[in-house]
Amino acid sequence: MQLTTPLASVLTDVDFKACLYILSFGLFIYGLSGLTGPKTAVRGNRIAAVGMVIAVVTTLLVEDFNNPVLIIVGMVLGTAIGVPAAQRVKMTAMPQMVALFNGVGGGAVALISWAEFRQTGGFDGVATYIAIFSVFSAIVGSVSFWGSNIAFGKLQGLISGGSISLGPLQLPVQALVAAGTLACGVAIVADPQSEIVIVGLLVLSAVFGLLLVLPIGGADMPVVISLLNAFTGLAAAAAGVSLDNQALIVAGMIVGASGTILTQQMAVAMNRTITSVIVGGFGGDSVAPAGGGDGEQGTVRSTSAADVAIQMAYANQVVVVPGYGMAVSQAQHAVREMAKLLESKGVTVKYAIHPVAGRMPGHMNVLLAEADVPYDQLKEMDDINGEFNRTDVSLVIGANDVTNPDARTKPDSPIYGMPILNVDESQSVIVLKRSMNSGYAGIENPLFFNPKTSMLFGDAKGSIESVTEELKVL
Protein backbone atom coordinates (compact mmCIF):
# COMPACT_ATOMS: atom_id res chain seq x y z
CA MET A 1 0.00 0.00 0.00
CA GLN A 2 2.86 2.40 -0.54
CA LEU A 3 1.31 5.24 -2.49
CA THR A 4 4.08 7.35 -3.93
CA THR A 5 2.04 10.04 -5.64
CA PRO A 6 -1.62 10.99 -5.71
CA LEU A 7 -1.60 10.02 -9.39
CA ALA A 8 -0.47 6.51 -8.58
CA SER A 9 -3.21 6.17 -6.02
CA VAL A 10 -5.80 7.11 -8.63
CA LEU A 11 -4.31 4.85 -11.29
CA THR A 12 -4.27 1.81 -9.06
CA ASP A 13 -7.69 2.49 -7.59
CA VAL A 14 -9.97 -0.52 -7.99
CA ASP A 15 -12.93 1.48 -9.25
CA PHE A 16 -10.80 3.46 -11.69
CA LYS A 17 -9.47 0.22 -13.15
CA ALA A 18 -12.96 -1.22 -13.28
CA CYS A 19 -14.03 1.81 -15.33
CA LEU A 20 -11.16 1.27 -17.75
CA TYR A 21 -12.19 -2.36 -18.13
CA ILE A 22 -15.75 -1.24 -18.87
CA LEU A 23 -14.38 1.14 -21.49
CA SER A 24 -12.36 -1.66 -23.04
CA PHE A 25 -15.22 -4.13 -23.32
CA GLY A 26 -17.44 -1.34 -24.59
CA LEU A 27 -14.91 -0.90 -27.40
CA PHE A 28 -14.97 -4.65 -28.08
CA ILE A 29 -18.73 -4.64 -28.53
CA TYR A 30 -18.69 -1.46 -30.60
CA GLY A 31 -15.84 -2.78 -32.71
CA LEU A 32 -17.50 -6.12 -33.34
CA SER A 33 -20.74 -4.45 -34.37
CA GLY A 34 -18.68 -2.81 -37.11
CA LEU A 35 -18.07 -6.24 -38.60
CA THR A 36 -21.63 -6.30 -39.91
CA GLY A 37 -20.55 -4.57 -43.12
CA PRO A 38 -17.41 -4.61 -45.25
CA LYS A 39 -17.09 -0.83 -45.12
CA THR A 40 -17.04 -0.48 -41.35
CA ALA A 41 -15.25 -3.74 -40.64
CA VAL A 42 -11.63 -2.55 -40.78
CA ARG A 43 -12.37 0.27 -38.37
CA GLY A 44 -14.33 -2.09 -36.14
CA ASN A 45 -11.43 -4.48 -35.83
CA ARG A 46 -9.06 -1.62 -34.99
CA ILE A 47 -11.46 -0.27 -32.37
CA ALA A 48 -11.51 -3.70 -30.75
CA ALA A 49 -7.70 -3.70 -30.83
CA VAL A 50 -7.68 -0.35 -29.01
CA GLY A 51 -9.97 -1.91 -26.41
CA MET A 52 -7.42 -4.68 -26.01
CA VAL A 53 -4.55 -2.22 -25.49
CA ILE A 54 -6.57 -0.41 -22.81
CA ALA A 55 -7.35 -3.70 -21.08
CA VAL A 56 -3.68 -4.74 -21.08
CA VAL A 57 -2.48 -1.39 -19.77
CA THR A 58 -5.15 -1.43 -17.06
CA THR A 59 -4.04 -4.84 -15.89
CA LEU A 60 -0.50 -3.56 -15.50
CA LEU A 61 -1.59 -0.74 -13.20
CA VAL A 62 -0.57 -2.42 -9.97
CA GLU A 63 1.14 -0.87 -7.00
CA ASP A 64 3.93 -3.39 -6.63
CA PHE A 65 4.90 -4.38 -10.10
CA ASN A 66 6.48 -7.81 -10.06
CA ASN A 67 8.37 -9.63 -12.80
CA PRO A 68 8.62 -6.61 -15.12
CA VAL A 69 11.46 -8.12 -17.15
CA LEU A 70 9.57 -11.34 -17.70
CA ILE A 71 6.45 -9.49 -18.76
CA ILE A 72 8.31 -7.29 -21.23
CA VAL A 73 10.24 -10.23 -22.67
CA GLY A 74 7.00 -12.20 -23.00
CA MET A 75 5.21 -9.41 -24.80
CA VAL A 76 8.09 -8.66 -27.14
CA LEU A 77 8.67 -12.32 -27.93
CA GLY A 78 4.96 -12.97 -28.48
CA THR A 79 4.79 -10.01 -30.85
CA ALA A 80 7.91 -11.16 -32.65
CA ILE A 81 6.28 -14.54 -33.26
CA GLY A 82 2.70 -13.44 -33.89
CA VAL A 83 3.13 -10.50 -36.25
CA PRO A 84 5.33 -12.14 -38.91
CA ALA A 85 3.17 -15.27 -38.80
CA ALA A 86 0.05 -13.19 -39.34
CA GLN A 87 1.61 -11.09 -42.08
CA ARG A 88 3.13 -13.90 -44.05
CA VAL A 89 0.34 -16.46 -43.99
CA LYS A 90 -1.25 -17.02 -47.36
CA MET A 91 -4.96 -16.42 -47.57
CA THR A 92 -5.42 -20.04 -48.59
CA ALA A 93 -3.80 -21.12 -45.32
CA MET A 94 -6.10 -18.94 -43.26
CA PRO A 95 -8.14 -21.78 -41.68
CA GLN A 96 -5.10 -23.38 -40.13
CA MET A 97 -3.74 -20.02 -38.98
CA VAL A 98 -6.99 -19.25 -37.18
CA ALA A 99 -6.95 -22.76 -35.70
CA LEU A 100 -3.42 -22.20 -34.44
CA PHE A 101 -4.12 -18.79 -32.90
CA ASN A 102 -7.24 -20.25 -31.32
CA GLY A 103 -5.20 -23.12 -29.93
CA VAL A 104 -2.61 -20.95 -28.21
CA GLY A 105 -5.43 -18.92 -26.67
CA GLY A 106 -6.94 -22.09 -25.25
CA GLY A 107 -3.53 -23.20 -24.04
CA ALA A 108 -3.05 -19.88 -22.28
CA VAL A 109 -6.34 -20.29 -20.37
CA ALA A 110 -5.43 -23.81 -19.27
CA LEU A 111 -1.97 -22.72 -18.10
CA ILE A 112 -3.40 -19.76 -16.19
CA SER A 113 -5.73 -22.11 -14.31
CA TRP A 114 -2.80 -24.33 -13.51
CA ALA A 115 -0.78 -21.40 -12.20
CA GLU A 116 -3.77 -20.23 -10.19
CA PHE A 117 -4.02 -23.69 -8.67
CA ARG A 118 -0.36 -23.66 -7.71
CA GLN A 119 -0.45 -20.15 -6.33
CA THR A 120 -3.43 -20.78 -4.09
CA GLY A 121 -2.13 -24.14 -2.91
CA GLY A 122 -4.84 -25.97 -4.81
CA PHE A 123 -7.56 -23.39 -4.20
CA ASP A 124 -7.04 -23.68 -0.48
CA GLY A 125 -9.07 -21.08 1.37
CA VAL A 126 -10.59 -19.83 -1.84
CA ALA A 127 -14.33 -19.72 -2.48
CA THR A 128 -15.58 -22.93 -4.03
CA TYR A 129 -17.04 -21.20 -7.06
CA ILE A 130 -13.60 -19.82 -7.96
CA ALA A 131 -12.22 -23.35 -7.98
CA ILE A 132 -15.15 -24.56 -10.09
CA PHE A 133 -14.76 -21.85 -12.72
CA SER A 134 -11.00 -22.33 -12.80
CA VAL A 135 -11.35 -26.08 -13.26
CA PHE A 136 -13.85 -25.46 -16.05
CA SER A 137 -11.46 -23.15 -17.86
CA ALA A 138 -8.60 -25.62 -17.40
CA ILE A 139 -10.62 -28.42 -18.99
CA VAL A 140 -12.10 -26.42 -21.86
CA GLY A 141 -8.85 -24.55 -22.51
CA SER A 142 -6.90 -27.77 -22.73
CA VAL A 143 -9.49 -29.40 -25.02
CA SER A 144 -9.38 -26.33 -27.23
CA PHE A 145 -5.57 -26.25 -27.34
CA TRP A 146 -5.13 -29.87 -28.38
CA GLY A 147 -8.21 -29.93 -30.57
CA SER A 148 -7.05 -26.85 -32.43
CA ASN A 149 -3.59 -28.28 -32.92
CA ILE A 150 -5.10 -31.38 -34.48
CA ALA A 151 -7.30 -29.20 -36.69
CA PHE A 152 -4.17 -27.29 -37.68
CA GLY A 153 -2.31 -30.52 -38.43
CA LYS A 154 -5.17 -31.80 -40.57
CA LEU A 155 -5.56 -28.58 -42.54
CA GLN A 156 -1.82 -28.20 -43.01
CA GLY A 157 -1.62 -31.79 -44.23
CA LEU A 158 0.68 -32.85 -41.38
CA ILE A 159 -1.77 -35.58 -40.44
CA SER A 160 -4.39 -37.31 -42.54
CA GLY A 161 -7.38 -35.12 -43.30
CA GLY A 162 -9.62 -38.14 -43.08
CA SER A 163 -11.20 -39.64 -40.04
CA ILE A 164 -8.85 -41.19 -37.50
CA SER A 165 -10.80 -43.03 -34.86
CA LEU A 166 -10.76 -46.06 -32.62
CA GLY A 167 -13.72 -47.48 -34.48
CA PRO A 168 -16.36 -49.00 -32.21
CA LEU A 169 -14.20 -48.24 -29.17
CA GLN A 170 -14.22 -44.52 -29.92
CA LEU A 171 -17.35 -43.62 -27.97
CA PRO A 172 -16.67 -45.75 -24.87
CA VAL A 173 -13.08 -44.50 -24.64
CA GLN A 174 -14.23 -40.94 -25.11
CA ALA A 175 -16.85 -41.34 -22.38
CA LEU A 176 -14.25 -42.88 -20.07
CA VAL A 177 -11.82 -40.02 -20.61
CA ALA A 178 -14.60 -37.50 -20.06
CA ALA A 179 -15.58 -39.23 -16.83
CA GLY A 180 -11.95 -39.26 -15.69
CA THR A 181 -11.62 -35.55 -16.45
CA LEU A 182 -14.75 -34.74 -14.48
CA ALA A 183 -13.57 -36.91 -11.57
CA CYS A 184 -10.29 -34.97 -11.45
CA GLY A 185 -12.26 -31.74 -11.53
CA VAL A 186 -14.44 -32.80 -8.61
CA ALA A 187 -11.34 -33.97 -6.70
CA ILE A 188 -9.69 -30.57 -7.18
CA VAL A 189 -12.71 -28.69 -5.93
CA ALA A 190 -13.13 -31.05 -2.98
CA ASP A 191 -9.52 -31.70 -1.93
CA PRO A 192 -7.37 -28.64 -2.26
CA GLN A 193 -3.84 -30.01 -2.05
CA SER A 194 -2.68 -32.52 -4.64
CA GLU A 195 -1.03 -31.06 -7.74
CA ILE A 196 -1.01 -34.47 -9.42
CA VAL A 197 -4.76 -34.12 -9.86
CA ILE A 198 -4.60 -30.91 -11.87
CA VAL A 199 -1.87 -32.34 -14.07
CA GLY A 200 -4.06 -35.41 -14.53
CA LEU A 201 -6.98 -33.14 -15.37
CA LEU A 202 -4.97 -31.28 -18.00
CA VAL A 203 -3.65 -34.49 -19.54
CA LEU A 204 -7.06 -36.17 -19.62
CA SER A 205 -8.71 -33.15 -21.18
CA ALA A 206 -5.87 -33.07 -23.71
CA VAL A 207 -6.65 -36.68 -24.62
CA PHE A 208 -10.30 -35.75 -24.83
CA GLY A 209 -9.45 -32.91 -27.21
CA LEU A 210 -7.48 -35.30 -29.42
CA LEU A 211 -10.29 -37.86 -29.42
CA LEU A 212 -12.75 -35.12 -30.24
CA VAL A 213 -11.09 -33.74 -33.36
CA LEU A 214 -9.11 -36.67 -34.80
CA PRO A 215 -12.23 -38.50 -36.10
CA ILE A 216 -13.59 -35.38 -37.79
CA GLY A 217 -12.81 -35.14 -41.49
CA GLY A 218 -11.85 -32.12 -43.55
CA ALA A 219 -15.34 -31.41 -44.83
CA ASP A 220 -16.55 -30.71 -41.31
CA MET A 221 -13.66 -28.39 -40.45
CA PRO A 222 -15.70 -25.16 -40.68
CA VAL A 223 -17.90 -26.48 -37.90
CA VAL A 224 -14.99 -27.67 -35.78
CA ILE A 225 -12.91 -24.50 -36.00
CA SER A 226 -15.90 -22.42 -35.12
CA LEU A 227 -16.77 -24.72 -32.21
CA LEU A 228 -13.23 -24.63 -30.80
CA ASN A 229 -13.30 -20.86 -31.09
CA ALA A 230 -16.45 -20.83 -28.97
CA PHE A 231 -14.76 -23.17 -26.48
CA THR A 232 -11.79 -20.87 -25.97
CA GLY A 233 -14.16 -17.94 -25.51
CA LEU A 234 -16.16 -19.75 -22.84
CA ALA A 235 -12.96 -20.86 -21.12
CA ALA A 236 -11.76 -17.25 -21.08
CA ALA A 237 -15.08 -16.10 -19.62
CA ALA A 238 -14.83 -18.72 -16.88
CA ALA A 239 -11.26 -17.64 -16.16
CA GLY A 240 -12.62 -14.10 -15.89
CA VAL A 241 -15.08 -15.15 -13.18
CA SER A 242 -12.40 -17.00 -11.23
CA LEU A 243 -9.97 -14.06 -11.50
CA ASP A 244 -12.77 -11.53 -10.89
CA ASN A 245 -11.91 -9.61 -14.07
CA GLN A 246 -14.93 -8.17 -15.88
CA ALA A 247 -13.16 -7.42 -19.15
CA LEU A 248 -12.24 -11.08 -19.42
CA ILE A 249 -15.78 -12.16 -18.64
CA VAL A 250 -17.40 -9.93 -21.25
CA ALA A 251 -14.85 -10.53 -24.00
CA GLY A 252 -14.80 -14.27 -23.42
CA MET A 253 -18.57 -14.54 -23.33
CA ILE A 254 -19.05 -12.52 -26.52
CA VAL A 255 -16.66 -14.84 -28.31
CA GLY A 256 -18.42 -17.83 -26.78
CA ALA A 257 -21.78 -16.57 -28.02
CA SER A 258 -20.53 -15.67 -31.49
CA GLY A 259 -18.73 -18.98 -31.88
CA THR A 260 -21.87 -20.81 -30.86
CA ILE A 261 -23.99 -18.95 -33.42
CA LEU A 262 -21.49 -19.57 -36.18
CA THR A 263 -21.20 -23.24 -35.32
CA GLN A 264 -24.96 -23.54 -35.35
CA GLN A 265 -25.19 -21.79 -38.74
CA MET A 266 -22.52 -24.02 -40.23
CA ALA A 267 -24.29 -27.12 -38.96
CA VAL A 268 -27.61 -25.91 -40.37
CA ALA A 269 -25.93 -25.24 -43.71
CA MET A 270 -24.93 -28.90 -43.79
CA ASN A 271 -28.31 -30.06 -42.49
CA ARG A 272 -26.62 -31.73 -39.56
CA THR A 273 -26.63 -31.25 -35.82
CA ILE A 274 -23.48 -30.19 -34.00
CA THR A 275 -23.62 -33.48 -32.13
CA SER A 276 -23.58 -35.52 -35.31
CA VAL A 277 -20.54 -33.62 -36.53
CA ILE A 278 -18.69 -34.27 -33.29
CA VAL A 279 -19.69 -37.91 -33.04
CA GLY A 280 -18.21 -38.20 -36.51
CA GLY A 281 -19.95 -38.94 -39.73
CA PHE A 282 -19.31 -38.64 -43.39
CA GLY A 283 -16.51 -36.15 -42.83
CA GLY A 284 -14.12 -39.05 -42.77
CA ASP A 285 -12.84 -41.28 -45.52
CA SER A 286 -15.58 -43.84 -45.09
CA VAL A 287 -16.46 -45.16 -48.51
CA ALA A 288 -19.72 -44.00 -49.97
CA PRO A 289 -22.60 -46.44 -49.85
CA ALA A 290 -23.55 -45.61 -53.42
CA GLY A 291 -21.77 -47.10 -56.40
CA GLY A 292 -19.50 -49.42 -54.54
CA GLY A 293 -15.77 -49.46 -55.18
CA ASP A 294 -14.82 -46.93 -57.76
CA GLY A 295 -17.55 -48.04 -60.15
CA GLU A 296 -18.83 -45.20 -62.28
CA GLN A 297 -22.50 -44.62 -62.86
CA GLY A 298 -22.77 -43.66 -66.49
CA THR A 299 -20.41 -41.78 -68.70
CA VAL A 300 -18.43 -38.72 -67.90
CA ARG A 301 -17.91 -36.23 -70.67
CA SER A 302 -14.45 -34.71 -70.72
CA THR A 303 -13.87 -31.37 -72.39
CA SER A 304 -11.02 -29.06 -73.34
CA ALA A 305 -10.01 -25.57 -72.32
CA ALA A 306 -10.83 -24.28 -75.80
CA ASP A 307 -14.40 -25.62 -75.64
CA VAL A 308 -14.91 -24.18 -72.19
CA ALA A 309 -13.67 -20.80 -73.41
CA ILE A 310 -16.06 -20.77 -76.35
CA GLN A 311 -18.99 -21.89 -74.23
CA MET A 312 -18.44 -19.14 -71.70
CA ALA A 313 -17.59 -16.40 -74.17
CA TYR A 314 -21.01 -16.72 -75.79
CA ALA A 315 -22.92 -16.98 -72.53
CA ASN A 316 -25.03 -14.23 -71.02
CA GLN A 317 -24.39 -15.26 -67.46
CA VAL A 318 -21.67 -17.41 -65.94
CA VAL A 319 -21.83 -18.43 -62.30
CA VAL A 320 -18.58 -19.50 -60.69
CA VAL A 321 -18.97 -22.02 -57.86
CA PRO A 322 -15.71 -22.16 -55.91
CA GLY A 323 -14.83 -24.89 -53.43
CA TYR A 324 -11.88 -26.17 -51.50
CA GLY A 325 -10.17 -27.19 -54.76
CA MET A 326 -9.83 -23.52 -55.67
CA ALA A 327 -8.11 -22.85 -52.36
CA VAL A 328 -5.77 -25.81 -52.74
CA SER A 329 -4.50 -24.77 -56.14
CA GLN A 330 -4.64 -21.06 -55.21
CA ALA A 331 -6.62 -20.36 -58.34
CA GLN A 332 -8.45 -17.27 -57.07
CA HIS A 333 -6.29 -14.76 -58.98
CA ALA A 334 -6.51 -16.79 -62.18
CA VAL A 335 -10.29 -16.93 -61.75
CA ARG A 336 -10.44 -13.17 -61.38
CA GLU A 337 -8.37 -12.67 -64.53
CA MET A 338 -10.67 -14.97 -66.46
CA ALA A 339 -13.76 -13.22 -65.09
CA LYS A 340 -12.42 -9.82 -66.14
CA LEU A 341 -11.89 -11.09 -69.64
CA LEU A 342 -15.40 -12.52 -69.74
CA GLU A 343 -16.84 -9.24 -68.46
CA SER A 344 -15.03 -7.37 -71.19
CA LYS A 345 -16.90 -9.63 -73.62
CA GLY A 346 -20.21 -8.63 -72.05
CA VAL A 347 -20.74 -11.74 -69.96
CA THR A 348 -22.22 -11.31 -66.48
CA VAL A 349 -20.10 -13.15 -63.94
CA LYS A 350 -21.34 -14.01 -60.47
CA TYR A 351 -19.93 -16.17 -57.70
CA ALA A 352 -22.11 -18.60 -55.77
CA ILE A 353 -20.79 -19.16 -52.27
CA HIS A 354 -22.05 -22.08 -50.26
CA PRO A 355 -21.89 -21.40 -46.51
CA VAL A 356 -19.63 -24.37 -45.88
CA ALA A 357 -17.52 -24.23 -49.04
CA GLY A 358 -13.88 -24.52 -48.04
CA ARG A 359 -12.50 -25.23 -44.65
CA MET A 360 -13.79 -22.38 -42.54
CA PRO A 361 -16.87 -20.16 -42.51
CA GLY A 362 -16.55 -17.60 -45.27
CA HIS A 363 -13.32 -19.14 -46.58
CA MET A 364 -14.19 -18.57 -50.27
CA ASN A 365 -15.16 -14.96 -49.69
CA VAL A 366 -11.75 -14.21 -48.24
CA LEU A 367 -9.93 -15.82 -51.16
CA LEU A 368 -12.02 -14.03 -53.77
CA ALA A 369 -11.69 -10.75 -51.91
CA GLU A 370 -7.93 -11.27 -51.98
CA ALA A 371 -8.17 -11.50 -55.76
CA ASP A 372 -10.14 -8.21 -55.82
CA VAL A 373 -13.44 -9.76 -56.83
CA PRO A 374 -16.04 -7.05 -56.20
CA TYR A 375 -17.95 -7.71 -53.00
CA ASP A 376 -21.37 -7.48 -54.66
CA GLN A 377 -20.61 -10.25 -57.16
CA LEU A 378 -20.32 -12.71 -54.28
CA LYS A 379 -23.76 -14.25 -53.87
CA GLU A 380 -24.92 -16.27 -50.91
CA MET A 381 -26.68 -19.56 -51.54
CA ASP A 382 -30.24 -18.33 -51.03
CA ASP A 383 -29.73 -15.38 -53.36
CA ILE A 384 -28.18 -17.28 -56.22
CA ASN A 385 -30.19 -20.49 -56.21
CA GLY A 386 -33.12 -18.81 -57.95
CA GLU A 387 -30.80 -17.64 -60.72
CA PHE A 388 -29.35 -20.92 -61.91
CA ASN A 389 -32.23 -21.55 -64.32
CA ARG A 390 -31.29 -18.26 -65.99
CA THR A 391 -27.60 -19.14 -66.06
CA ASP A 392 -25.92 -20.39 -69.21
CA VAL A 393 -22.79 -21.85 -67.69
CA SER A 394 -22.04 -22.86 -64.13
CA LEU A 395 -18.31 -23.22 -63.60
CA VAL A 396 -17.67 -25.47 -60.62
CA ILE A 397 -14.08 -25.06 -59.41
CA GLY A 398 -13.04 -27.77 -57.01
CA ALA A 399 -16.41 -27.88 -55.29
CA ASN A 400 -18.14 -31.20 -54.99
CA ASP A 401 -20.47 -32.02 -52.13
CA VAL A 402 -22.10 -28.59 -52.08
CA THR A 403 -23.33 -29.19 -55.62
CA ASN A 404 -24.40 -32.81 -55.22
CA PRO A 405 -28.03 -33.19 -56.36
CA ASP A 406 -28.33 -36.35 -54.25
CA ALA A 407 -28.84 -34.00 -51.34
CA ARG A 408 -32.22 -33.08 -52.86
CA THR A 409 -33.31 -36.33 -54.43
CA LYS A 410 -31.80 -39.36 -52.76
CA PRO A 411 -33.08 -39.98 -49.24
CA ASP A 412 -30.48 -42.66 -48.44
CA SER A 413 -27.57 -40.40 -49.31
CA PRO A 414 -25.47 -39.30 -46.30
CA ILE A 415 -25.90 -35.69 -47.34
CA TYR A 416 -29.64 -35.91 -48.06
CA GLY A 417 -31.36 -32.74 -46.90
CA MET A 418 -28.25 -30.57 -46.98
CA PRO A 419 -29.02 -27.33 -48.81
CA ILE A 420 -26.95 -27.22 -51.99
CA LEU A 421 -26.23 -24.91 -54.89
CA ASN A 422 -28.58 -26.00 -57.67
CA VAL A 423 -26.02 -25.81 -60.47
CA ASP A 424 -27.76 -28.65 -62.30
CA GLU A 425 -30.58 -26.21 -63.11
CA SER A 426 -28.33 -24.13 -65.34
CA GLN A 427 -28.05 -24.68 -69.11
CA SER A 428 -24.70 -26.38 -68.81
CA VAL A 429 -22.22 -27.19 -66.10
CA ILE A 430 -18.45 -27.31 -66.35
CA VAL A 431 -16.66 -29.03 -63.50
CA LEU A 432 -12.98 -28.43 -62.90
CA LYS A 433 -11.52 -31.35 -61.04
CA ARG A 434 -8.17 -33.02 -60.71
CA SER A 435 -9.48 -36.53 -61.24
CA MET A 436 -12.61 -38.59 -60.80
CA ASN A 437 -11.85 -39.23 -57.13
CA SER A 438 -14.83 -38.50 -54.97
CA GLY A 439 -14.81 -35.39 -52.81
CA TYR A 440 -13.88 -35.00 -49.19
CA ALA A 441 -17.08 -36.60 -48.06
CA GLY A 442 -16.31 -39.68 -50.16
CA ILE A 443 -19.68 -39.59 -51.86
CA GLU A 444 -20.35 -40.08 -55.55
CA ASN A 445 -21.71 -36.99 -57.23
CA PRO A 446 -24.31 -37.72 -59.96
CA LEU A 447 -23.77 -34.17 -61.21
CA PHE A 448 -20.63 -35.40 -62.97
CA PHE A 449 -22.66 -37.94 -64.94
CA ASN A 450 -25.38 -35.47 -65.89
CA PRO A 451 -25.59 -35.04 -69.70
CA LYS A 452 -25.39 -31.25 -69.20
CA THR A 453 -22.09 -31.58 -67.42
CA SER A 454 -18.65 -31.66 -68.95
CA MET A 455 -15.49 -32.16 -66.97
CA LEU A 456 -12.23 -30.28 -67.38
CA PHE A 457 -9.61 -32.38 -65.66
CA GLY A 458 -6.42 -30.94 -64.25
CA ASP A 459 -5.18 -28.57 -61.59
CA ALA A 460 -7.75 -25.79 -61.17
CA LYS A 461 -5.26 -22.96 -61.55
CA GLY A 462 -3.66 -24.45 -64.66
CA SER A 463 -7.06 -25.16 -66.20
CA ILE A 464 -8.34 -21.65 -65.57
CA GLU A 465 -5.15 -20.16 -67.01
CA SER A 466 -5.46 -22.17 -70.20
CA VAL A 467 -9.13 -21.18 -70.50
CA THR A 468 -8.03 -17.56 -70.12
CA GLU A 469 -5.44 -18.01 -72.87
CA GLU A 470 -8.12 -19.44 -75.14
CA LEU A 471 -10.45 -16.56 -74.32
CA LYS A 472 -7.76 -14.08 -75.33
CA VAL A 473 -7.48 -15.48 -78.84
CA LEU A 474 -11.23 -15.73 -79.38
Binding site: L35, K39, A49, V104, A127, N229, A237, A247, M253
Partner: protein
Protein backbone atom coordinates in the same frame (compact mmCIF):
# COMPACT_ATOMS: atom_id res chain seq x y z
CA UNK B 1 -37.81 -6.87 -8.57
CA UNK B 2 -36.06 -3.46 -8.70
CA UNK B 3 -34.87 -4.12 -5.15
CA UNK B 4 -33.28 -7.34 -6.22
CA UNK B 5 -31.58 -5.69 -9.17
CA UNK B 6 -30.18 -2.76 -7.21
CA UNK B 7 -29.17 -5.19 -4.52
CA UNK B 8 -27.23 -7.25 -7.01
CA UNK B 9 -25.55 -4.24 -8.57
CA UNK B 10 -24.76 -2.51 -5.29
CA UNK B 11 -23.28 -5.60 -3.76
CA UNK B 12 -20.30 -5.56 -6.12
CA UNK B 13 -17.04 -5.93 -4.28
CA UNK B 14 -18.49 -6.31 -0.83
CA UNK B 15 -18.30 -10.06 -0.41
CA UNK B 16 -17.36 -13.09 -2.40
CA UNK B 17 -20.89 -14.28 -2.93
CA UNK B 18 -22.11 -10.99 -4.31
CA UNK B 19 -19.03 -10.79 -6.52
CA UNK B 20 -20.09 -14.10 -7.96
CA UNK B 21 -23.61 -12.84 -8.54
CA UNK B 22 -22.42 -9.65 -10.21
CA UNK B 23 -20.03 -11.53 -12.41
CA UNK B 24 -22.68 -14.07 -13.35
CA UNK B 25 -25.02 -11.22 -14.27
CA UNK B 26 -22.32 -9.73 -16.48
CA UNK B 27 -21.63 -13.15 -17.97
CA UNK B 28 -25.26 -13.73 -18.95
CA UNK B 29 -25.76 -10.22 -20.29
CA UNK B 30 -22.55 -10.42 -22.32
CA UNK B 31 -23.76 -13.68 -23.83
CA UNK B 32 -26.93 -12.01 -25.07
CA UNK B 33 -25.08 -8.94 -26.30
CA UNK B 34 -22.69 -11.19 -28.21
CA UNK B 35 -25.60 -13.06 -29.71
CA UNK B 36 -27.37 -9.85 -30.75
CA UNK B 37 -24.29 -8.24 -32.29
CA UNK B 38 -23.01 -11.28 -34.11
CA UNK B 39 -26.28 -12.47 -35.62
CA UNK B 40 -26.16 -9.46 -37.94
CA UNK B 41 -22.84 -10.38 -39.52
CA UNK B 42 -23.30 -11.58 -43.13
CA UNK B 43 -21.89 -14.92 -44.31
CA UNK B 44 -19.31 -13.14 -46.39
CA UNK B 45 -17.58 -11.75 -43.33
CA UNK B 46 -17.62 -14.95 -41.30
CA UNK B 47 -13.91 -15.65 -41.65
CA UNK B 48 -12.85 -12.19 -40.48
CA UNK B 49 -15.48 -12.42 -37.75
CA UNK B 50 -14.02 -15.67 -36.50
CA UNK B 51 -10.54 -14.39 -36.69
CA UNK B 52 -11.56 -11.14 -34.98
CA UNK B 53 -13.34 -12.87 -32.12
CA UNK B 54 -10.36 -15.19 -32.00
CA UNK B 55 -8.14 -12.19 -31.33
CA UNK B 56 -10.54 -10.94 -28.68
CA UNK B 57 -10.48 -14.16 -26.69
CA UNK B 58 -6.73 -13.63 -26.58
CA UNK B 59 -7.74 -11.32 -23.74
CA UNK B 60 -6.84 -14.28 -21.53
CA UNK B 61 -3.43 -12.68 -21.70
CA UNK B 62 -4.78 -10.46 -18.90
CA UNK B 63 -4.90 -13.48 -16.64
CA UNK B 64 -1.22 -14.16 -17.20
CA UNK B 65 -0.30 -10.51 -16.79
CA UNK B 66 -2.37 -10.18 -13.64
CA UNK B 67 -0.84 -13.19 -11.92
CA UNK B 68 2.70 -12.26 -13.01
CA UNK B 69 2.47 -8.59 -12.11
CA UNK B 70 0.77 -9.11 -8.77
CA UNK B 71 2.49 -12.28 -7.72
CA UNK B 72 5.46 -12.19 -5.38
CA UNK B 73 7.66 -15.25 -4.92
CA UNK B 74 5.84 -17.29 -7.50
CA UNK B 75 8.45 -20.00 -7.61
CA UNK B 76 10.12 -21.24 -10.76
CA UNK B 77 7.40 -23.66 -11.83
CA UNK B 78 4.54 -21.21 -11.65
CA UNK B 79 6.63 -18.47 -13.23
CA UNK B 80 7.47 -20.69 -16.21
CA UNK B 81 3.83 -21.71 -16.61
CA UNK B 82 2.70 -18.10 -16.51
CA UNK B 83 5.40 -16.99 -18.91
CA UNK B 84 4.28 -19.54 -21.48
CA UNK B 85 0.67 -18.52 -20.90
CA UNK B 86 1.64 -14.89 -21.46
CA UNK B 87 3.52 -15.78 -24.62
CA UNK B 88 0.57 -17.79 -25.96
CA UNK B 89 -1.85 -15.02 -25.10
CA UNK B 90 0.23 -12.33 -26.80
CA UNK B 91 0.58 -14.45 -29.95
CA UNK B 92 -3.18 -14.99 -29.95
CA UNK B 93 -4.02 -11.30 -29.52
CA UNK B 94 -1.45 -9.71 -31.82
CA UNK B 95 -1.55 -12.38 -34.50
CA UNK B 96 -5.34 -12.41 -34.43
CA UNK B 97 -5.75 -8.66 -34.88
CA UNK B 98 -3.10 -8.39 -37.58
CA UNK B 99 -4.49 -11.27 -39.61
CA UNK B 100 -8.05 -9.93 -39.31
CA UNK B 101 -6.88 -6.50 -40.40
CA UNK B 102 -5.20 -8.01 -43.45
CA UNK B 103 -8.35 -9.84 -44.46
CA UNK B 104 -10.66 -6.90 -43.93
CA UNK B 105 -8.43 -4.59 -45.94
CA UNK B 106 -9.12 -6.86 -48.89
CA UNK B 107 -12.85 -6.63 -48.43
CA UNK B 108 -12.74 -2.87 -48.15
CA UNK B 109 -11.39 -2.32 -51.65
CA UNK B 110 -13.76 -1.40 -54.43
CA UNK B 111 -17.31 -1.92 -53.25
CA UNK B 112 -18.57 -1.27 -56.80
CA UNK B 113 -17.95 -3.62 -59.72
CA UNK B 114 -15.72 -2.73 -62.63
CA UNK B 115 -13.78 -0.31 -60.48
CA UNK B 116 -10.52 -1.36 -62.07
CA UNK B 117 -10.21 -2.15 -65.72
CA UNK B 118 -6.57 -2.98 -66.16
CA UNK B 119 -3.47 -2.74 -64.11
CA UNK B 120 -2.92 -5.74 -61.89
CA UNK B 121 -1.05 -8.60 -63.43
Amino acid sequence: MPDLLTGVLAAAGTSETSNLVTNLAILVLAGFVGYAVISKVPNTLHTPLMSGTNAIHGIVVLGGLLLLAEGEDLGTGTTVILFIALLFGVINVIGGFVVTDRMLEMFKTKPTPKGDAEGDA
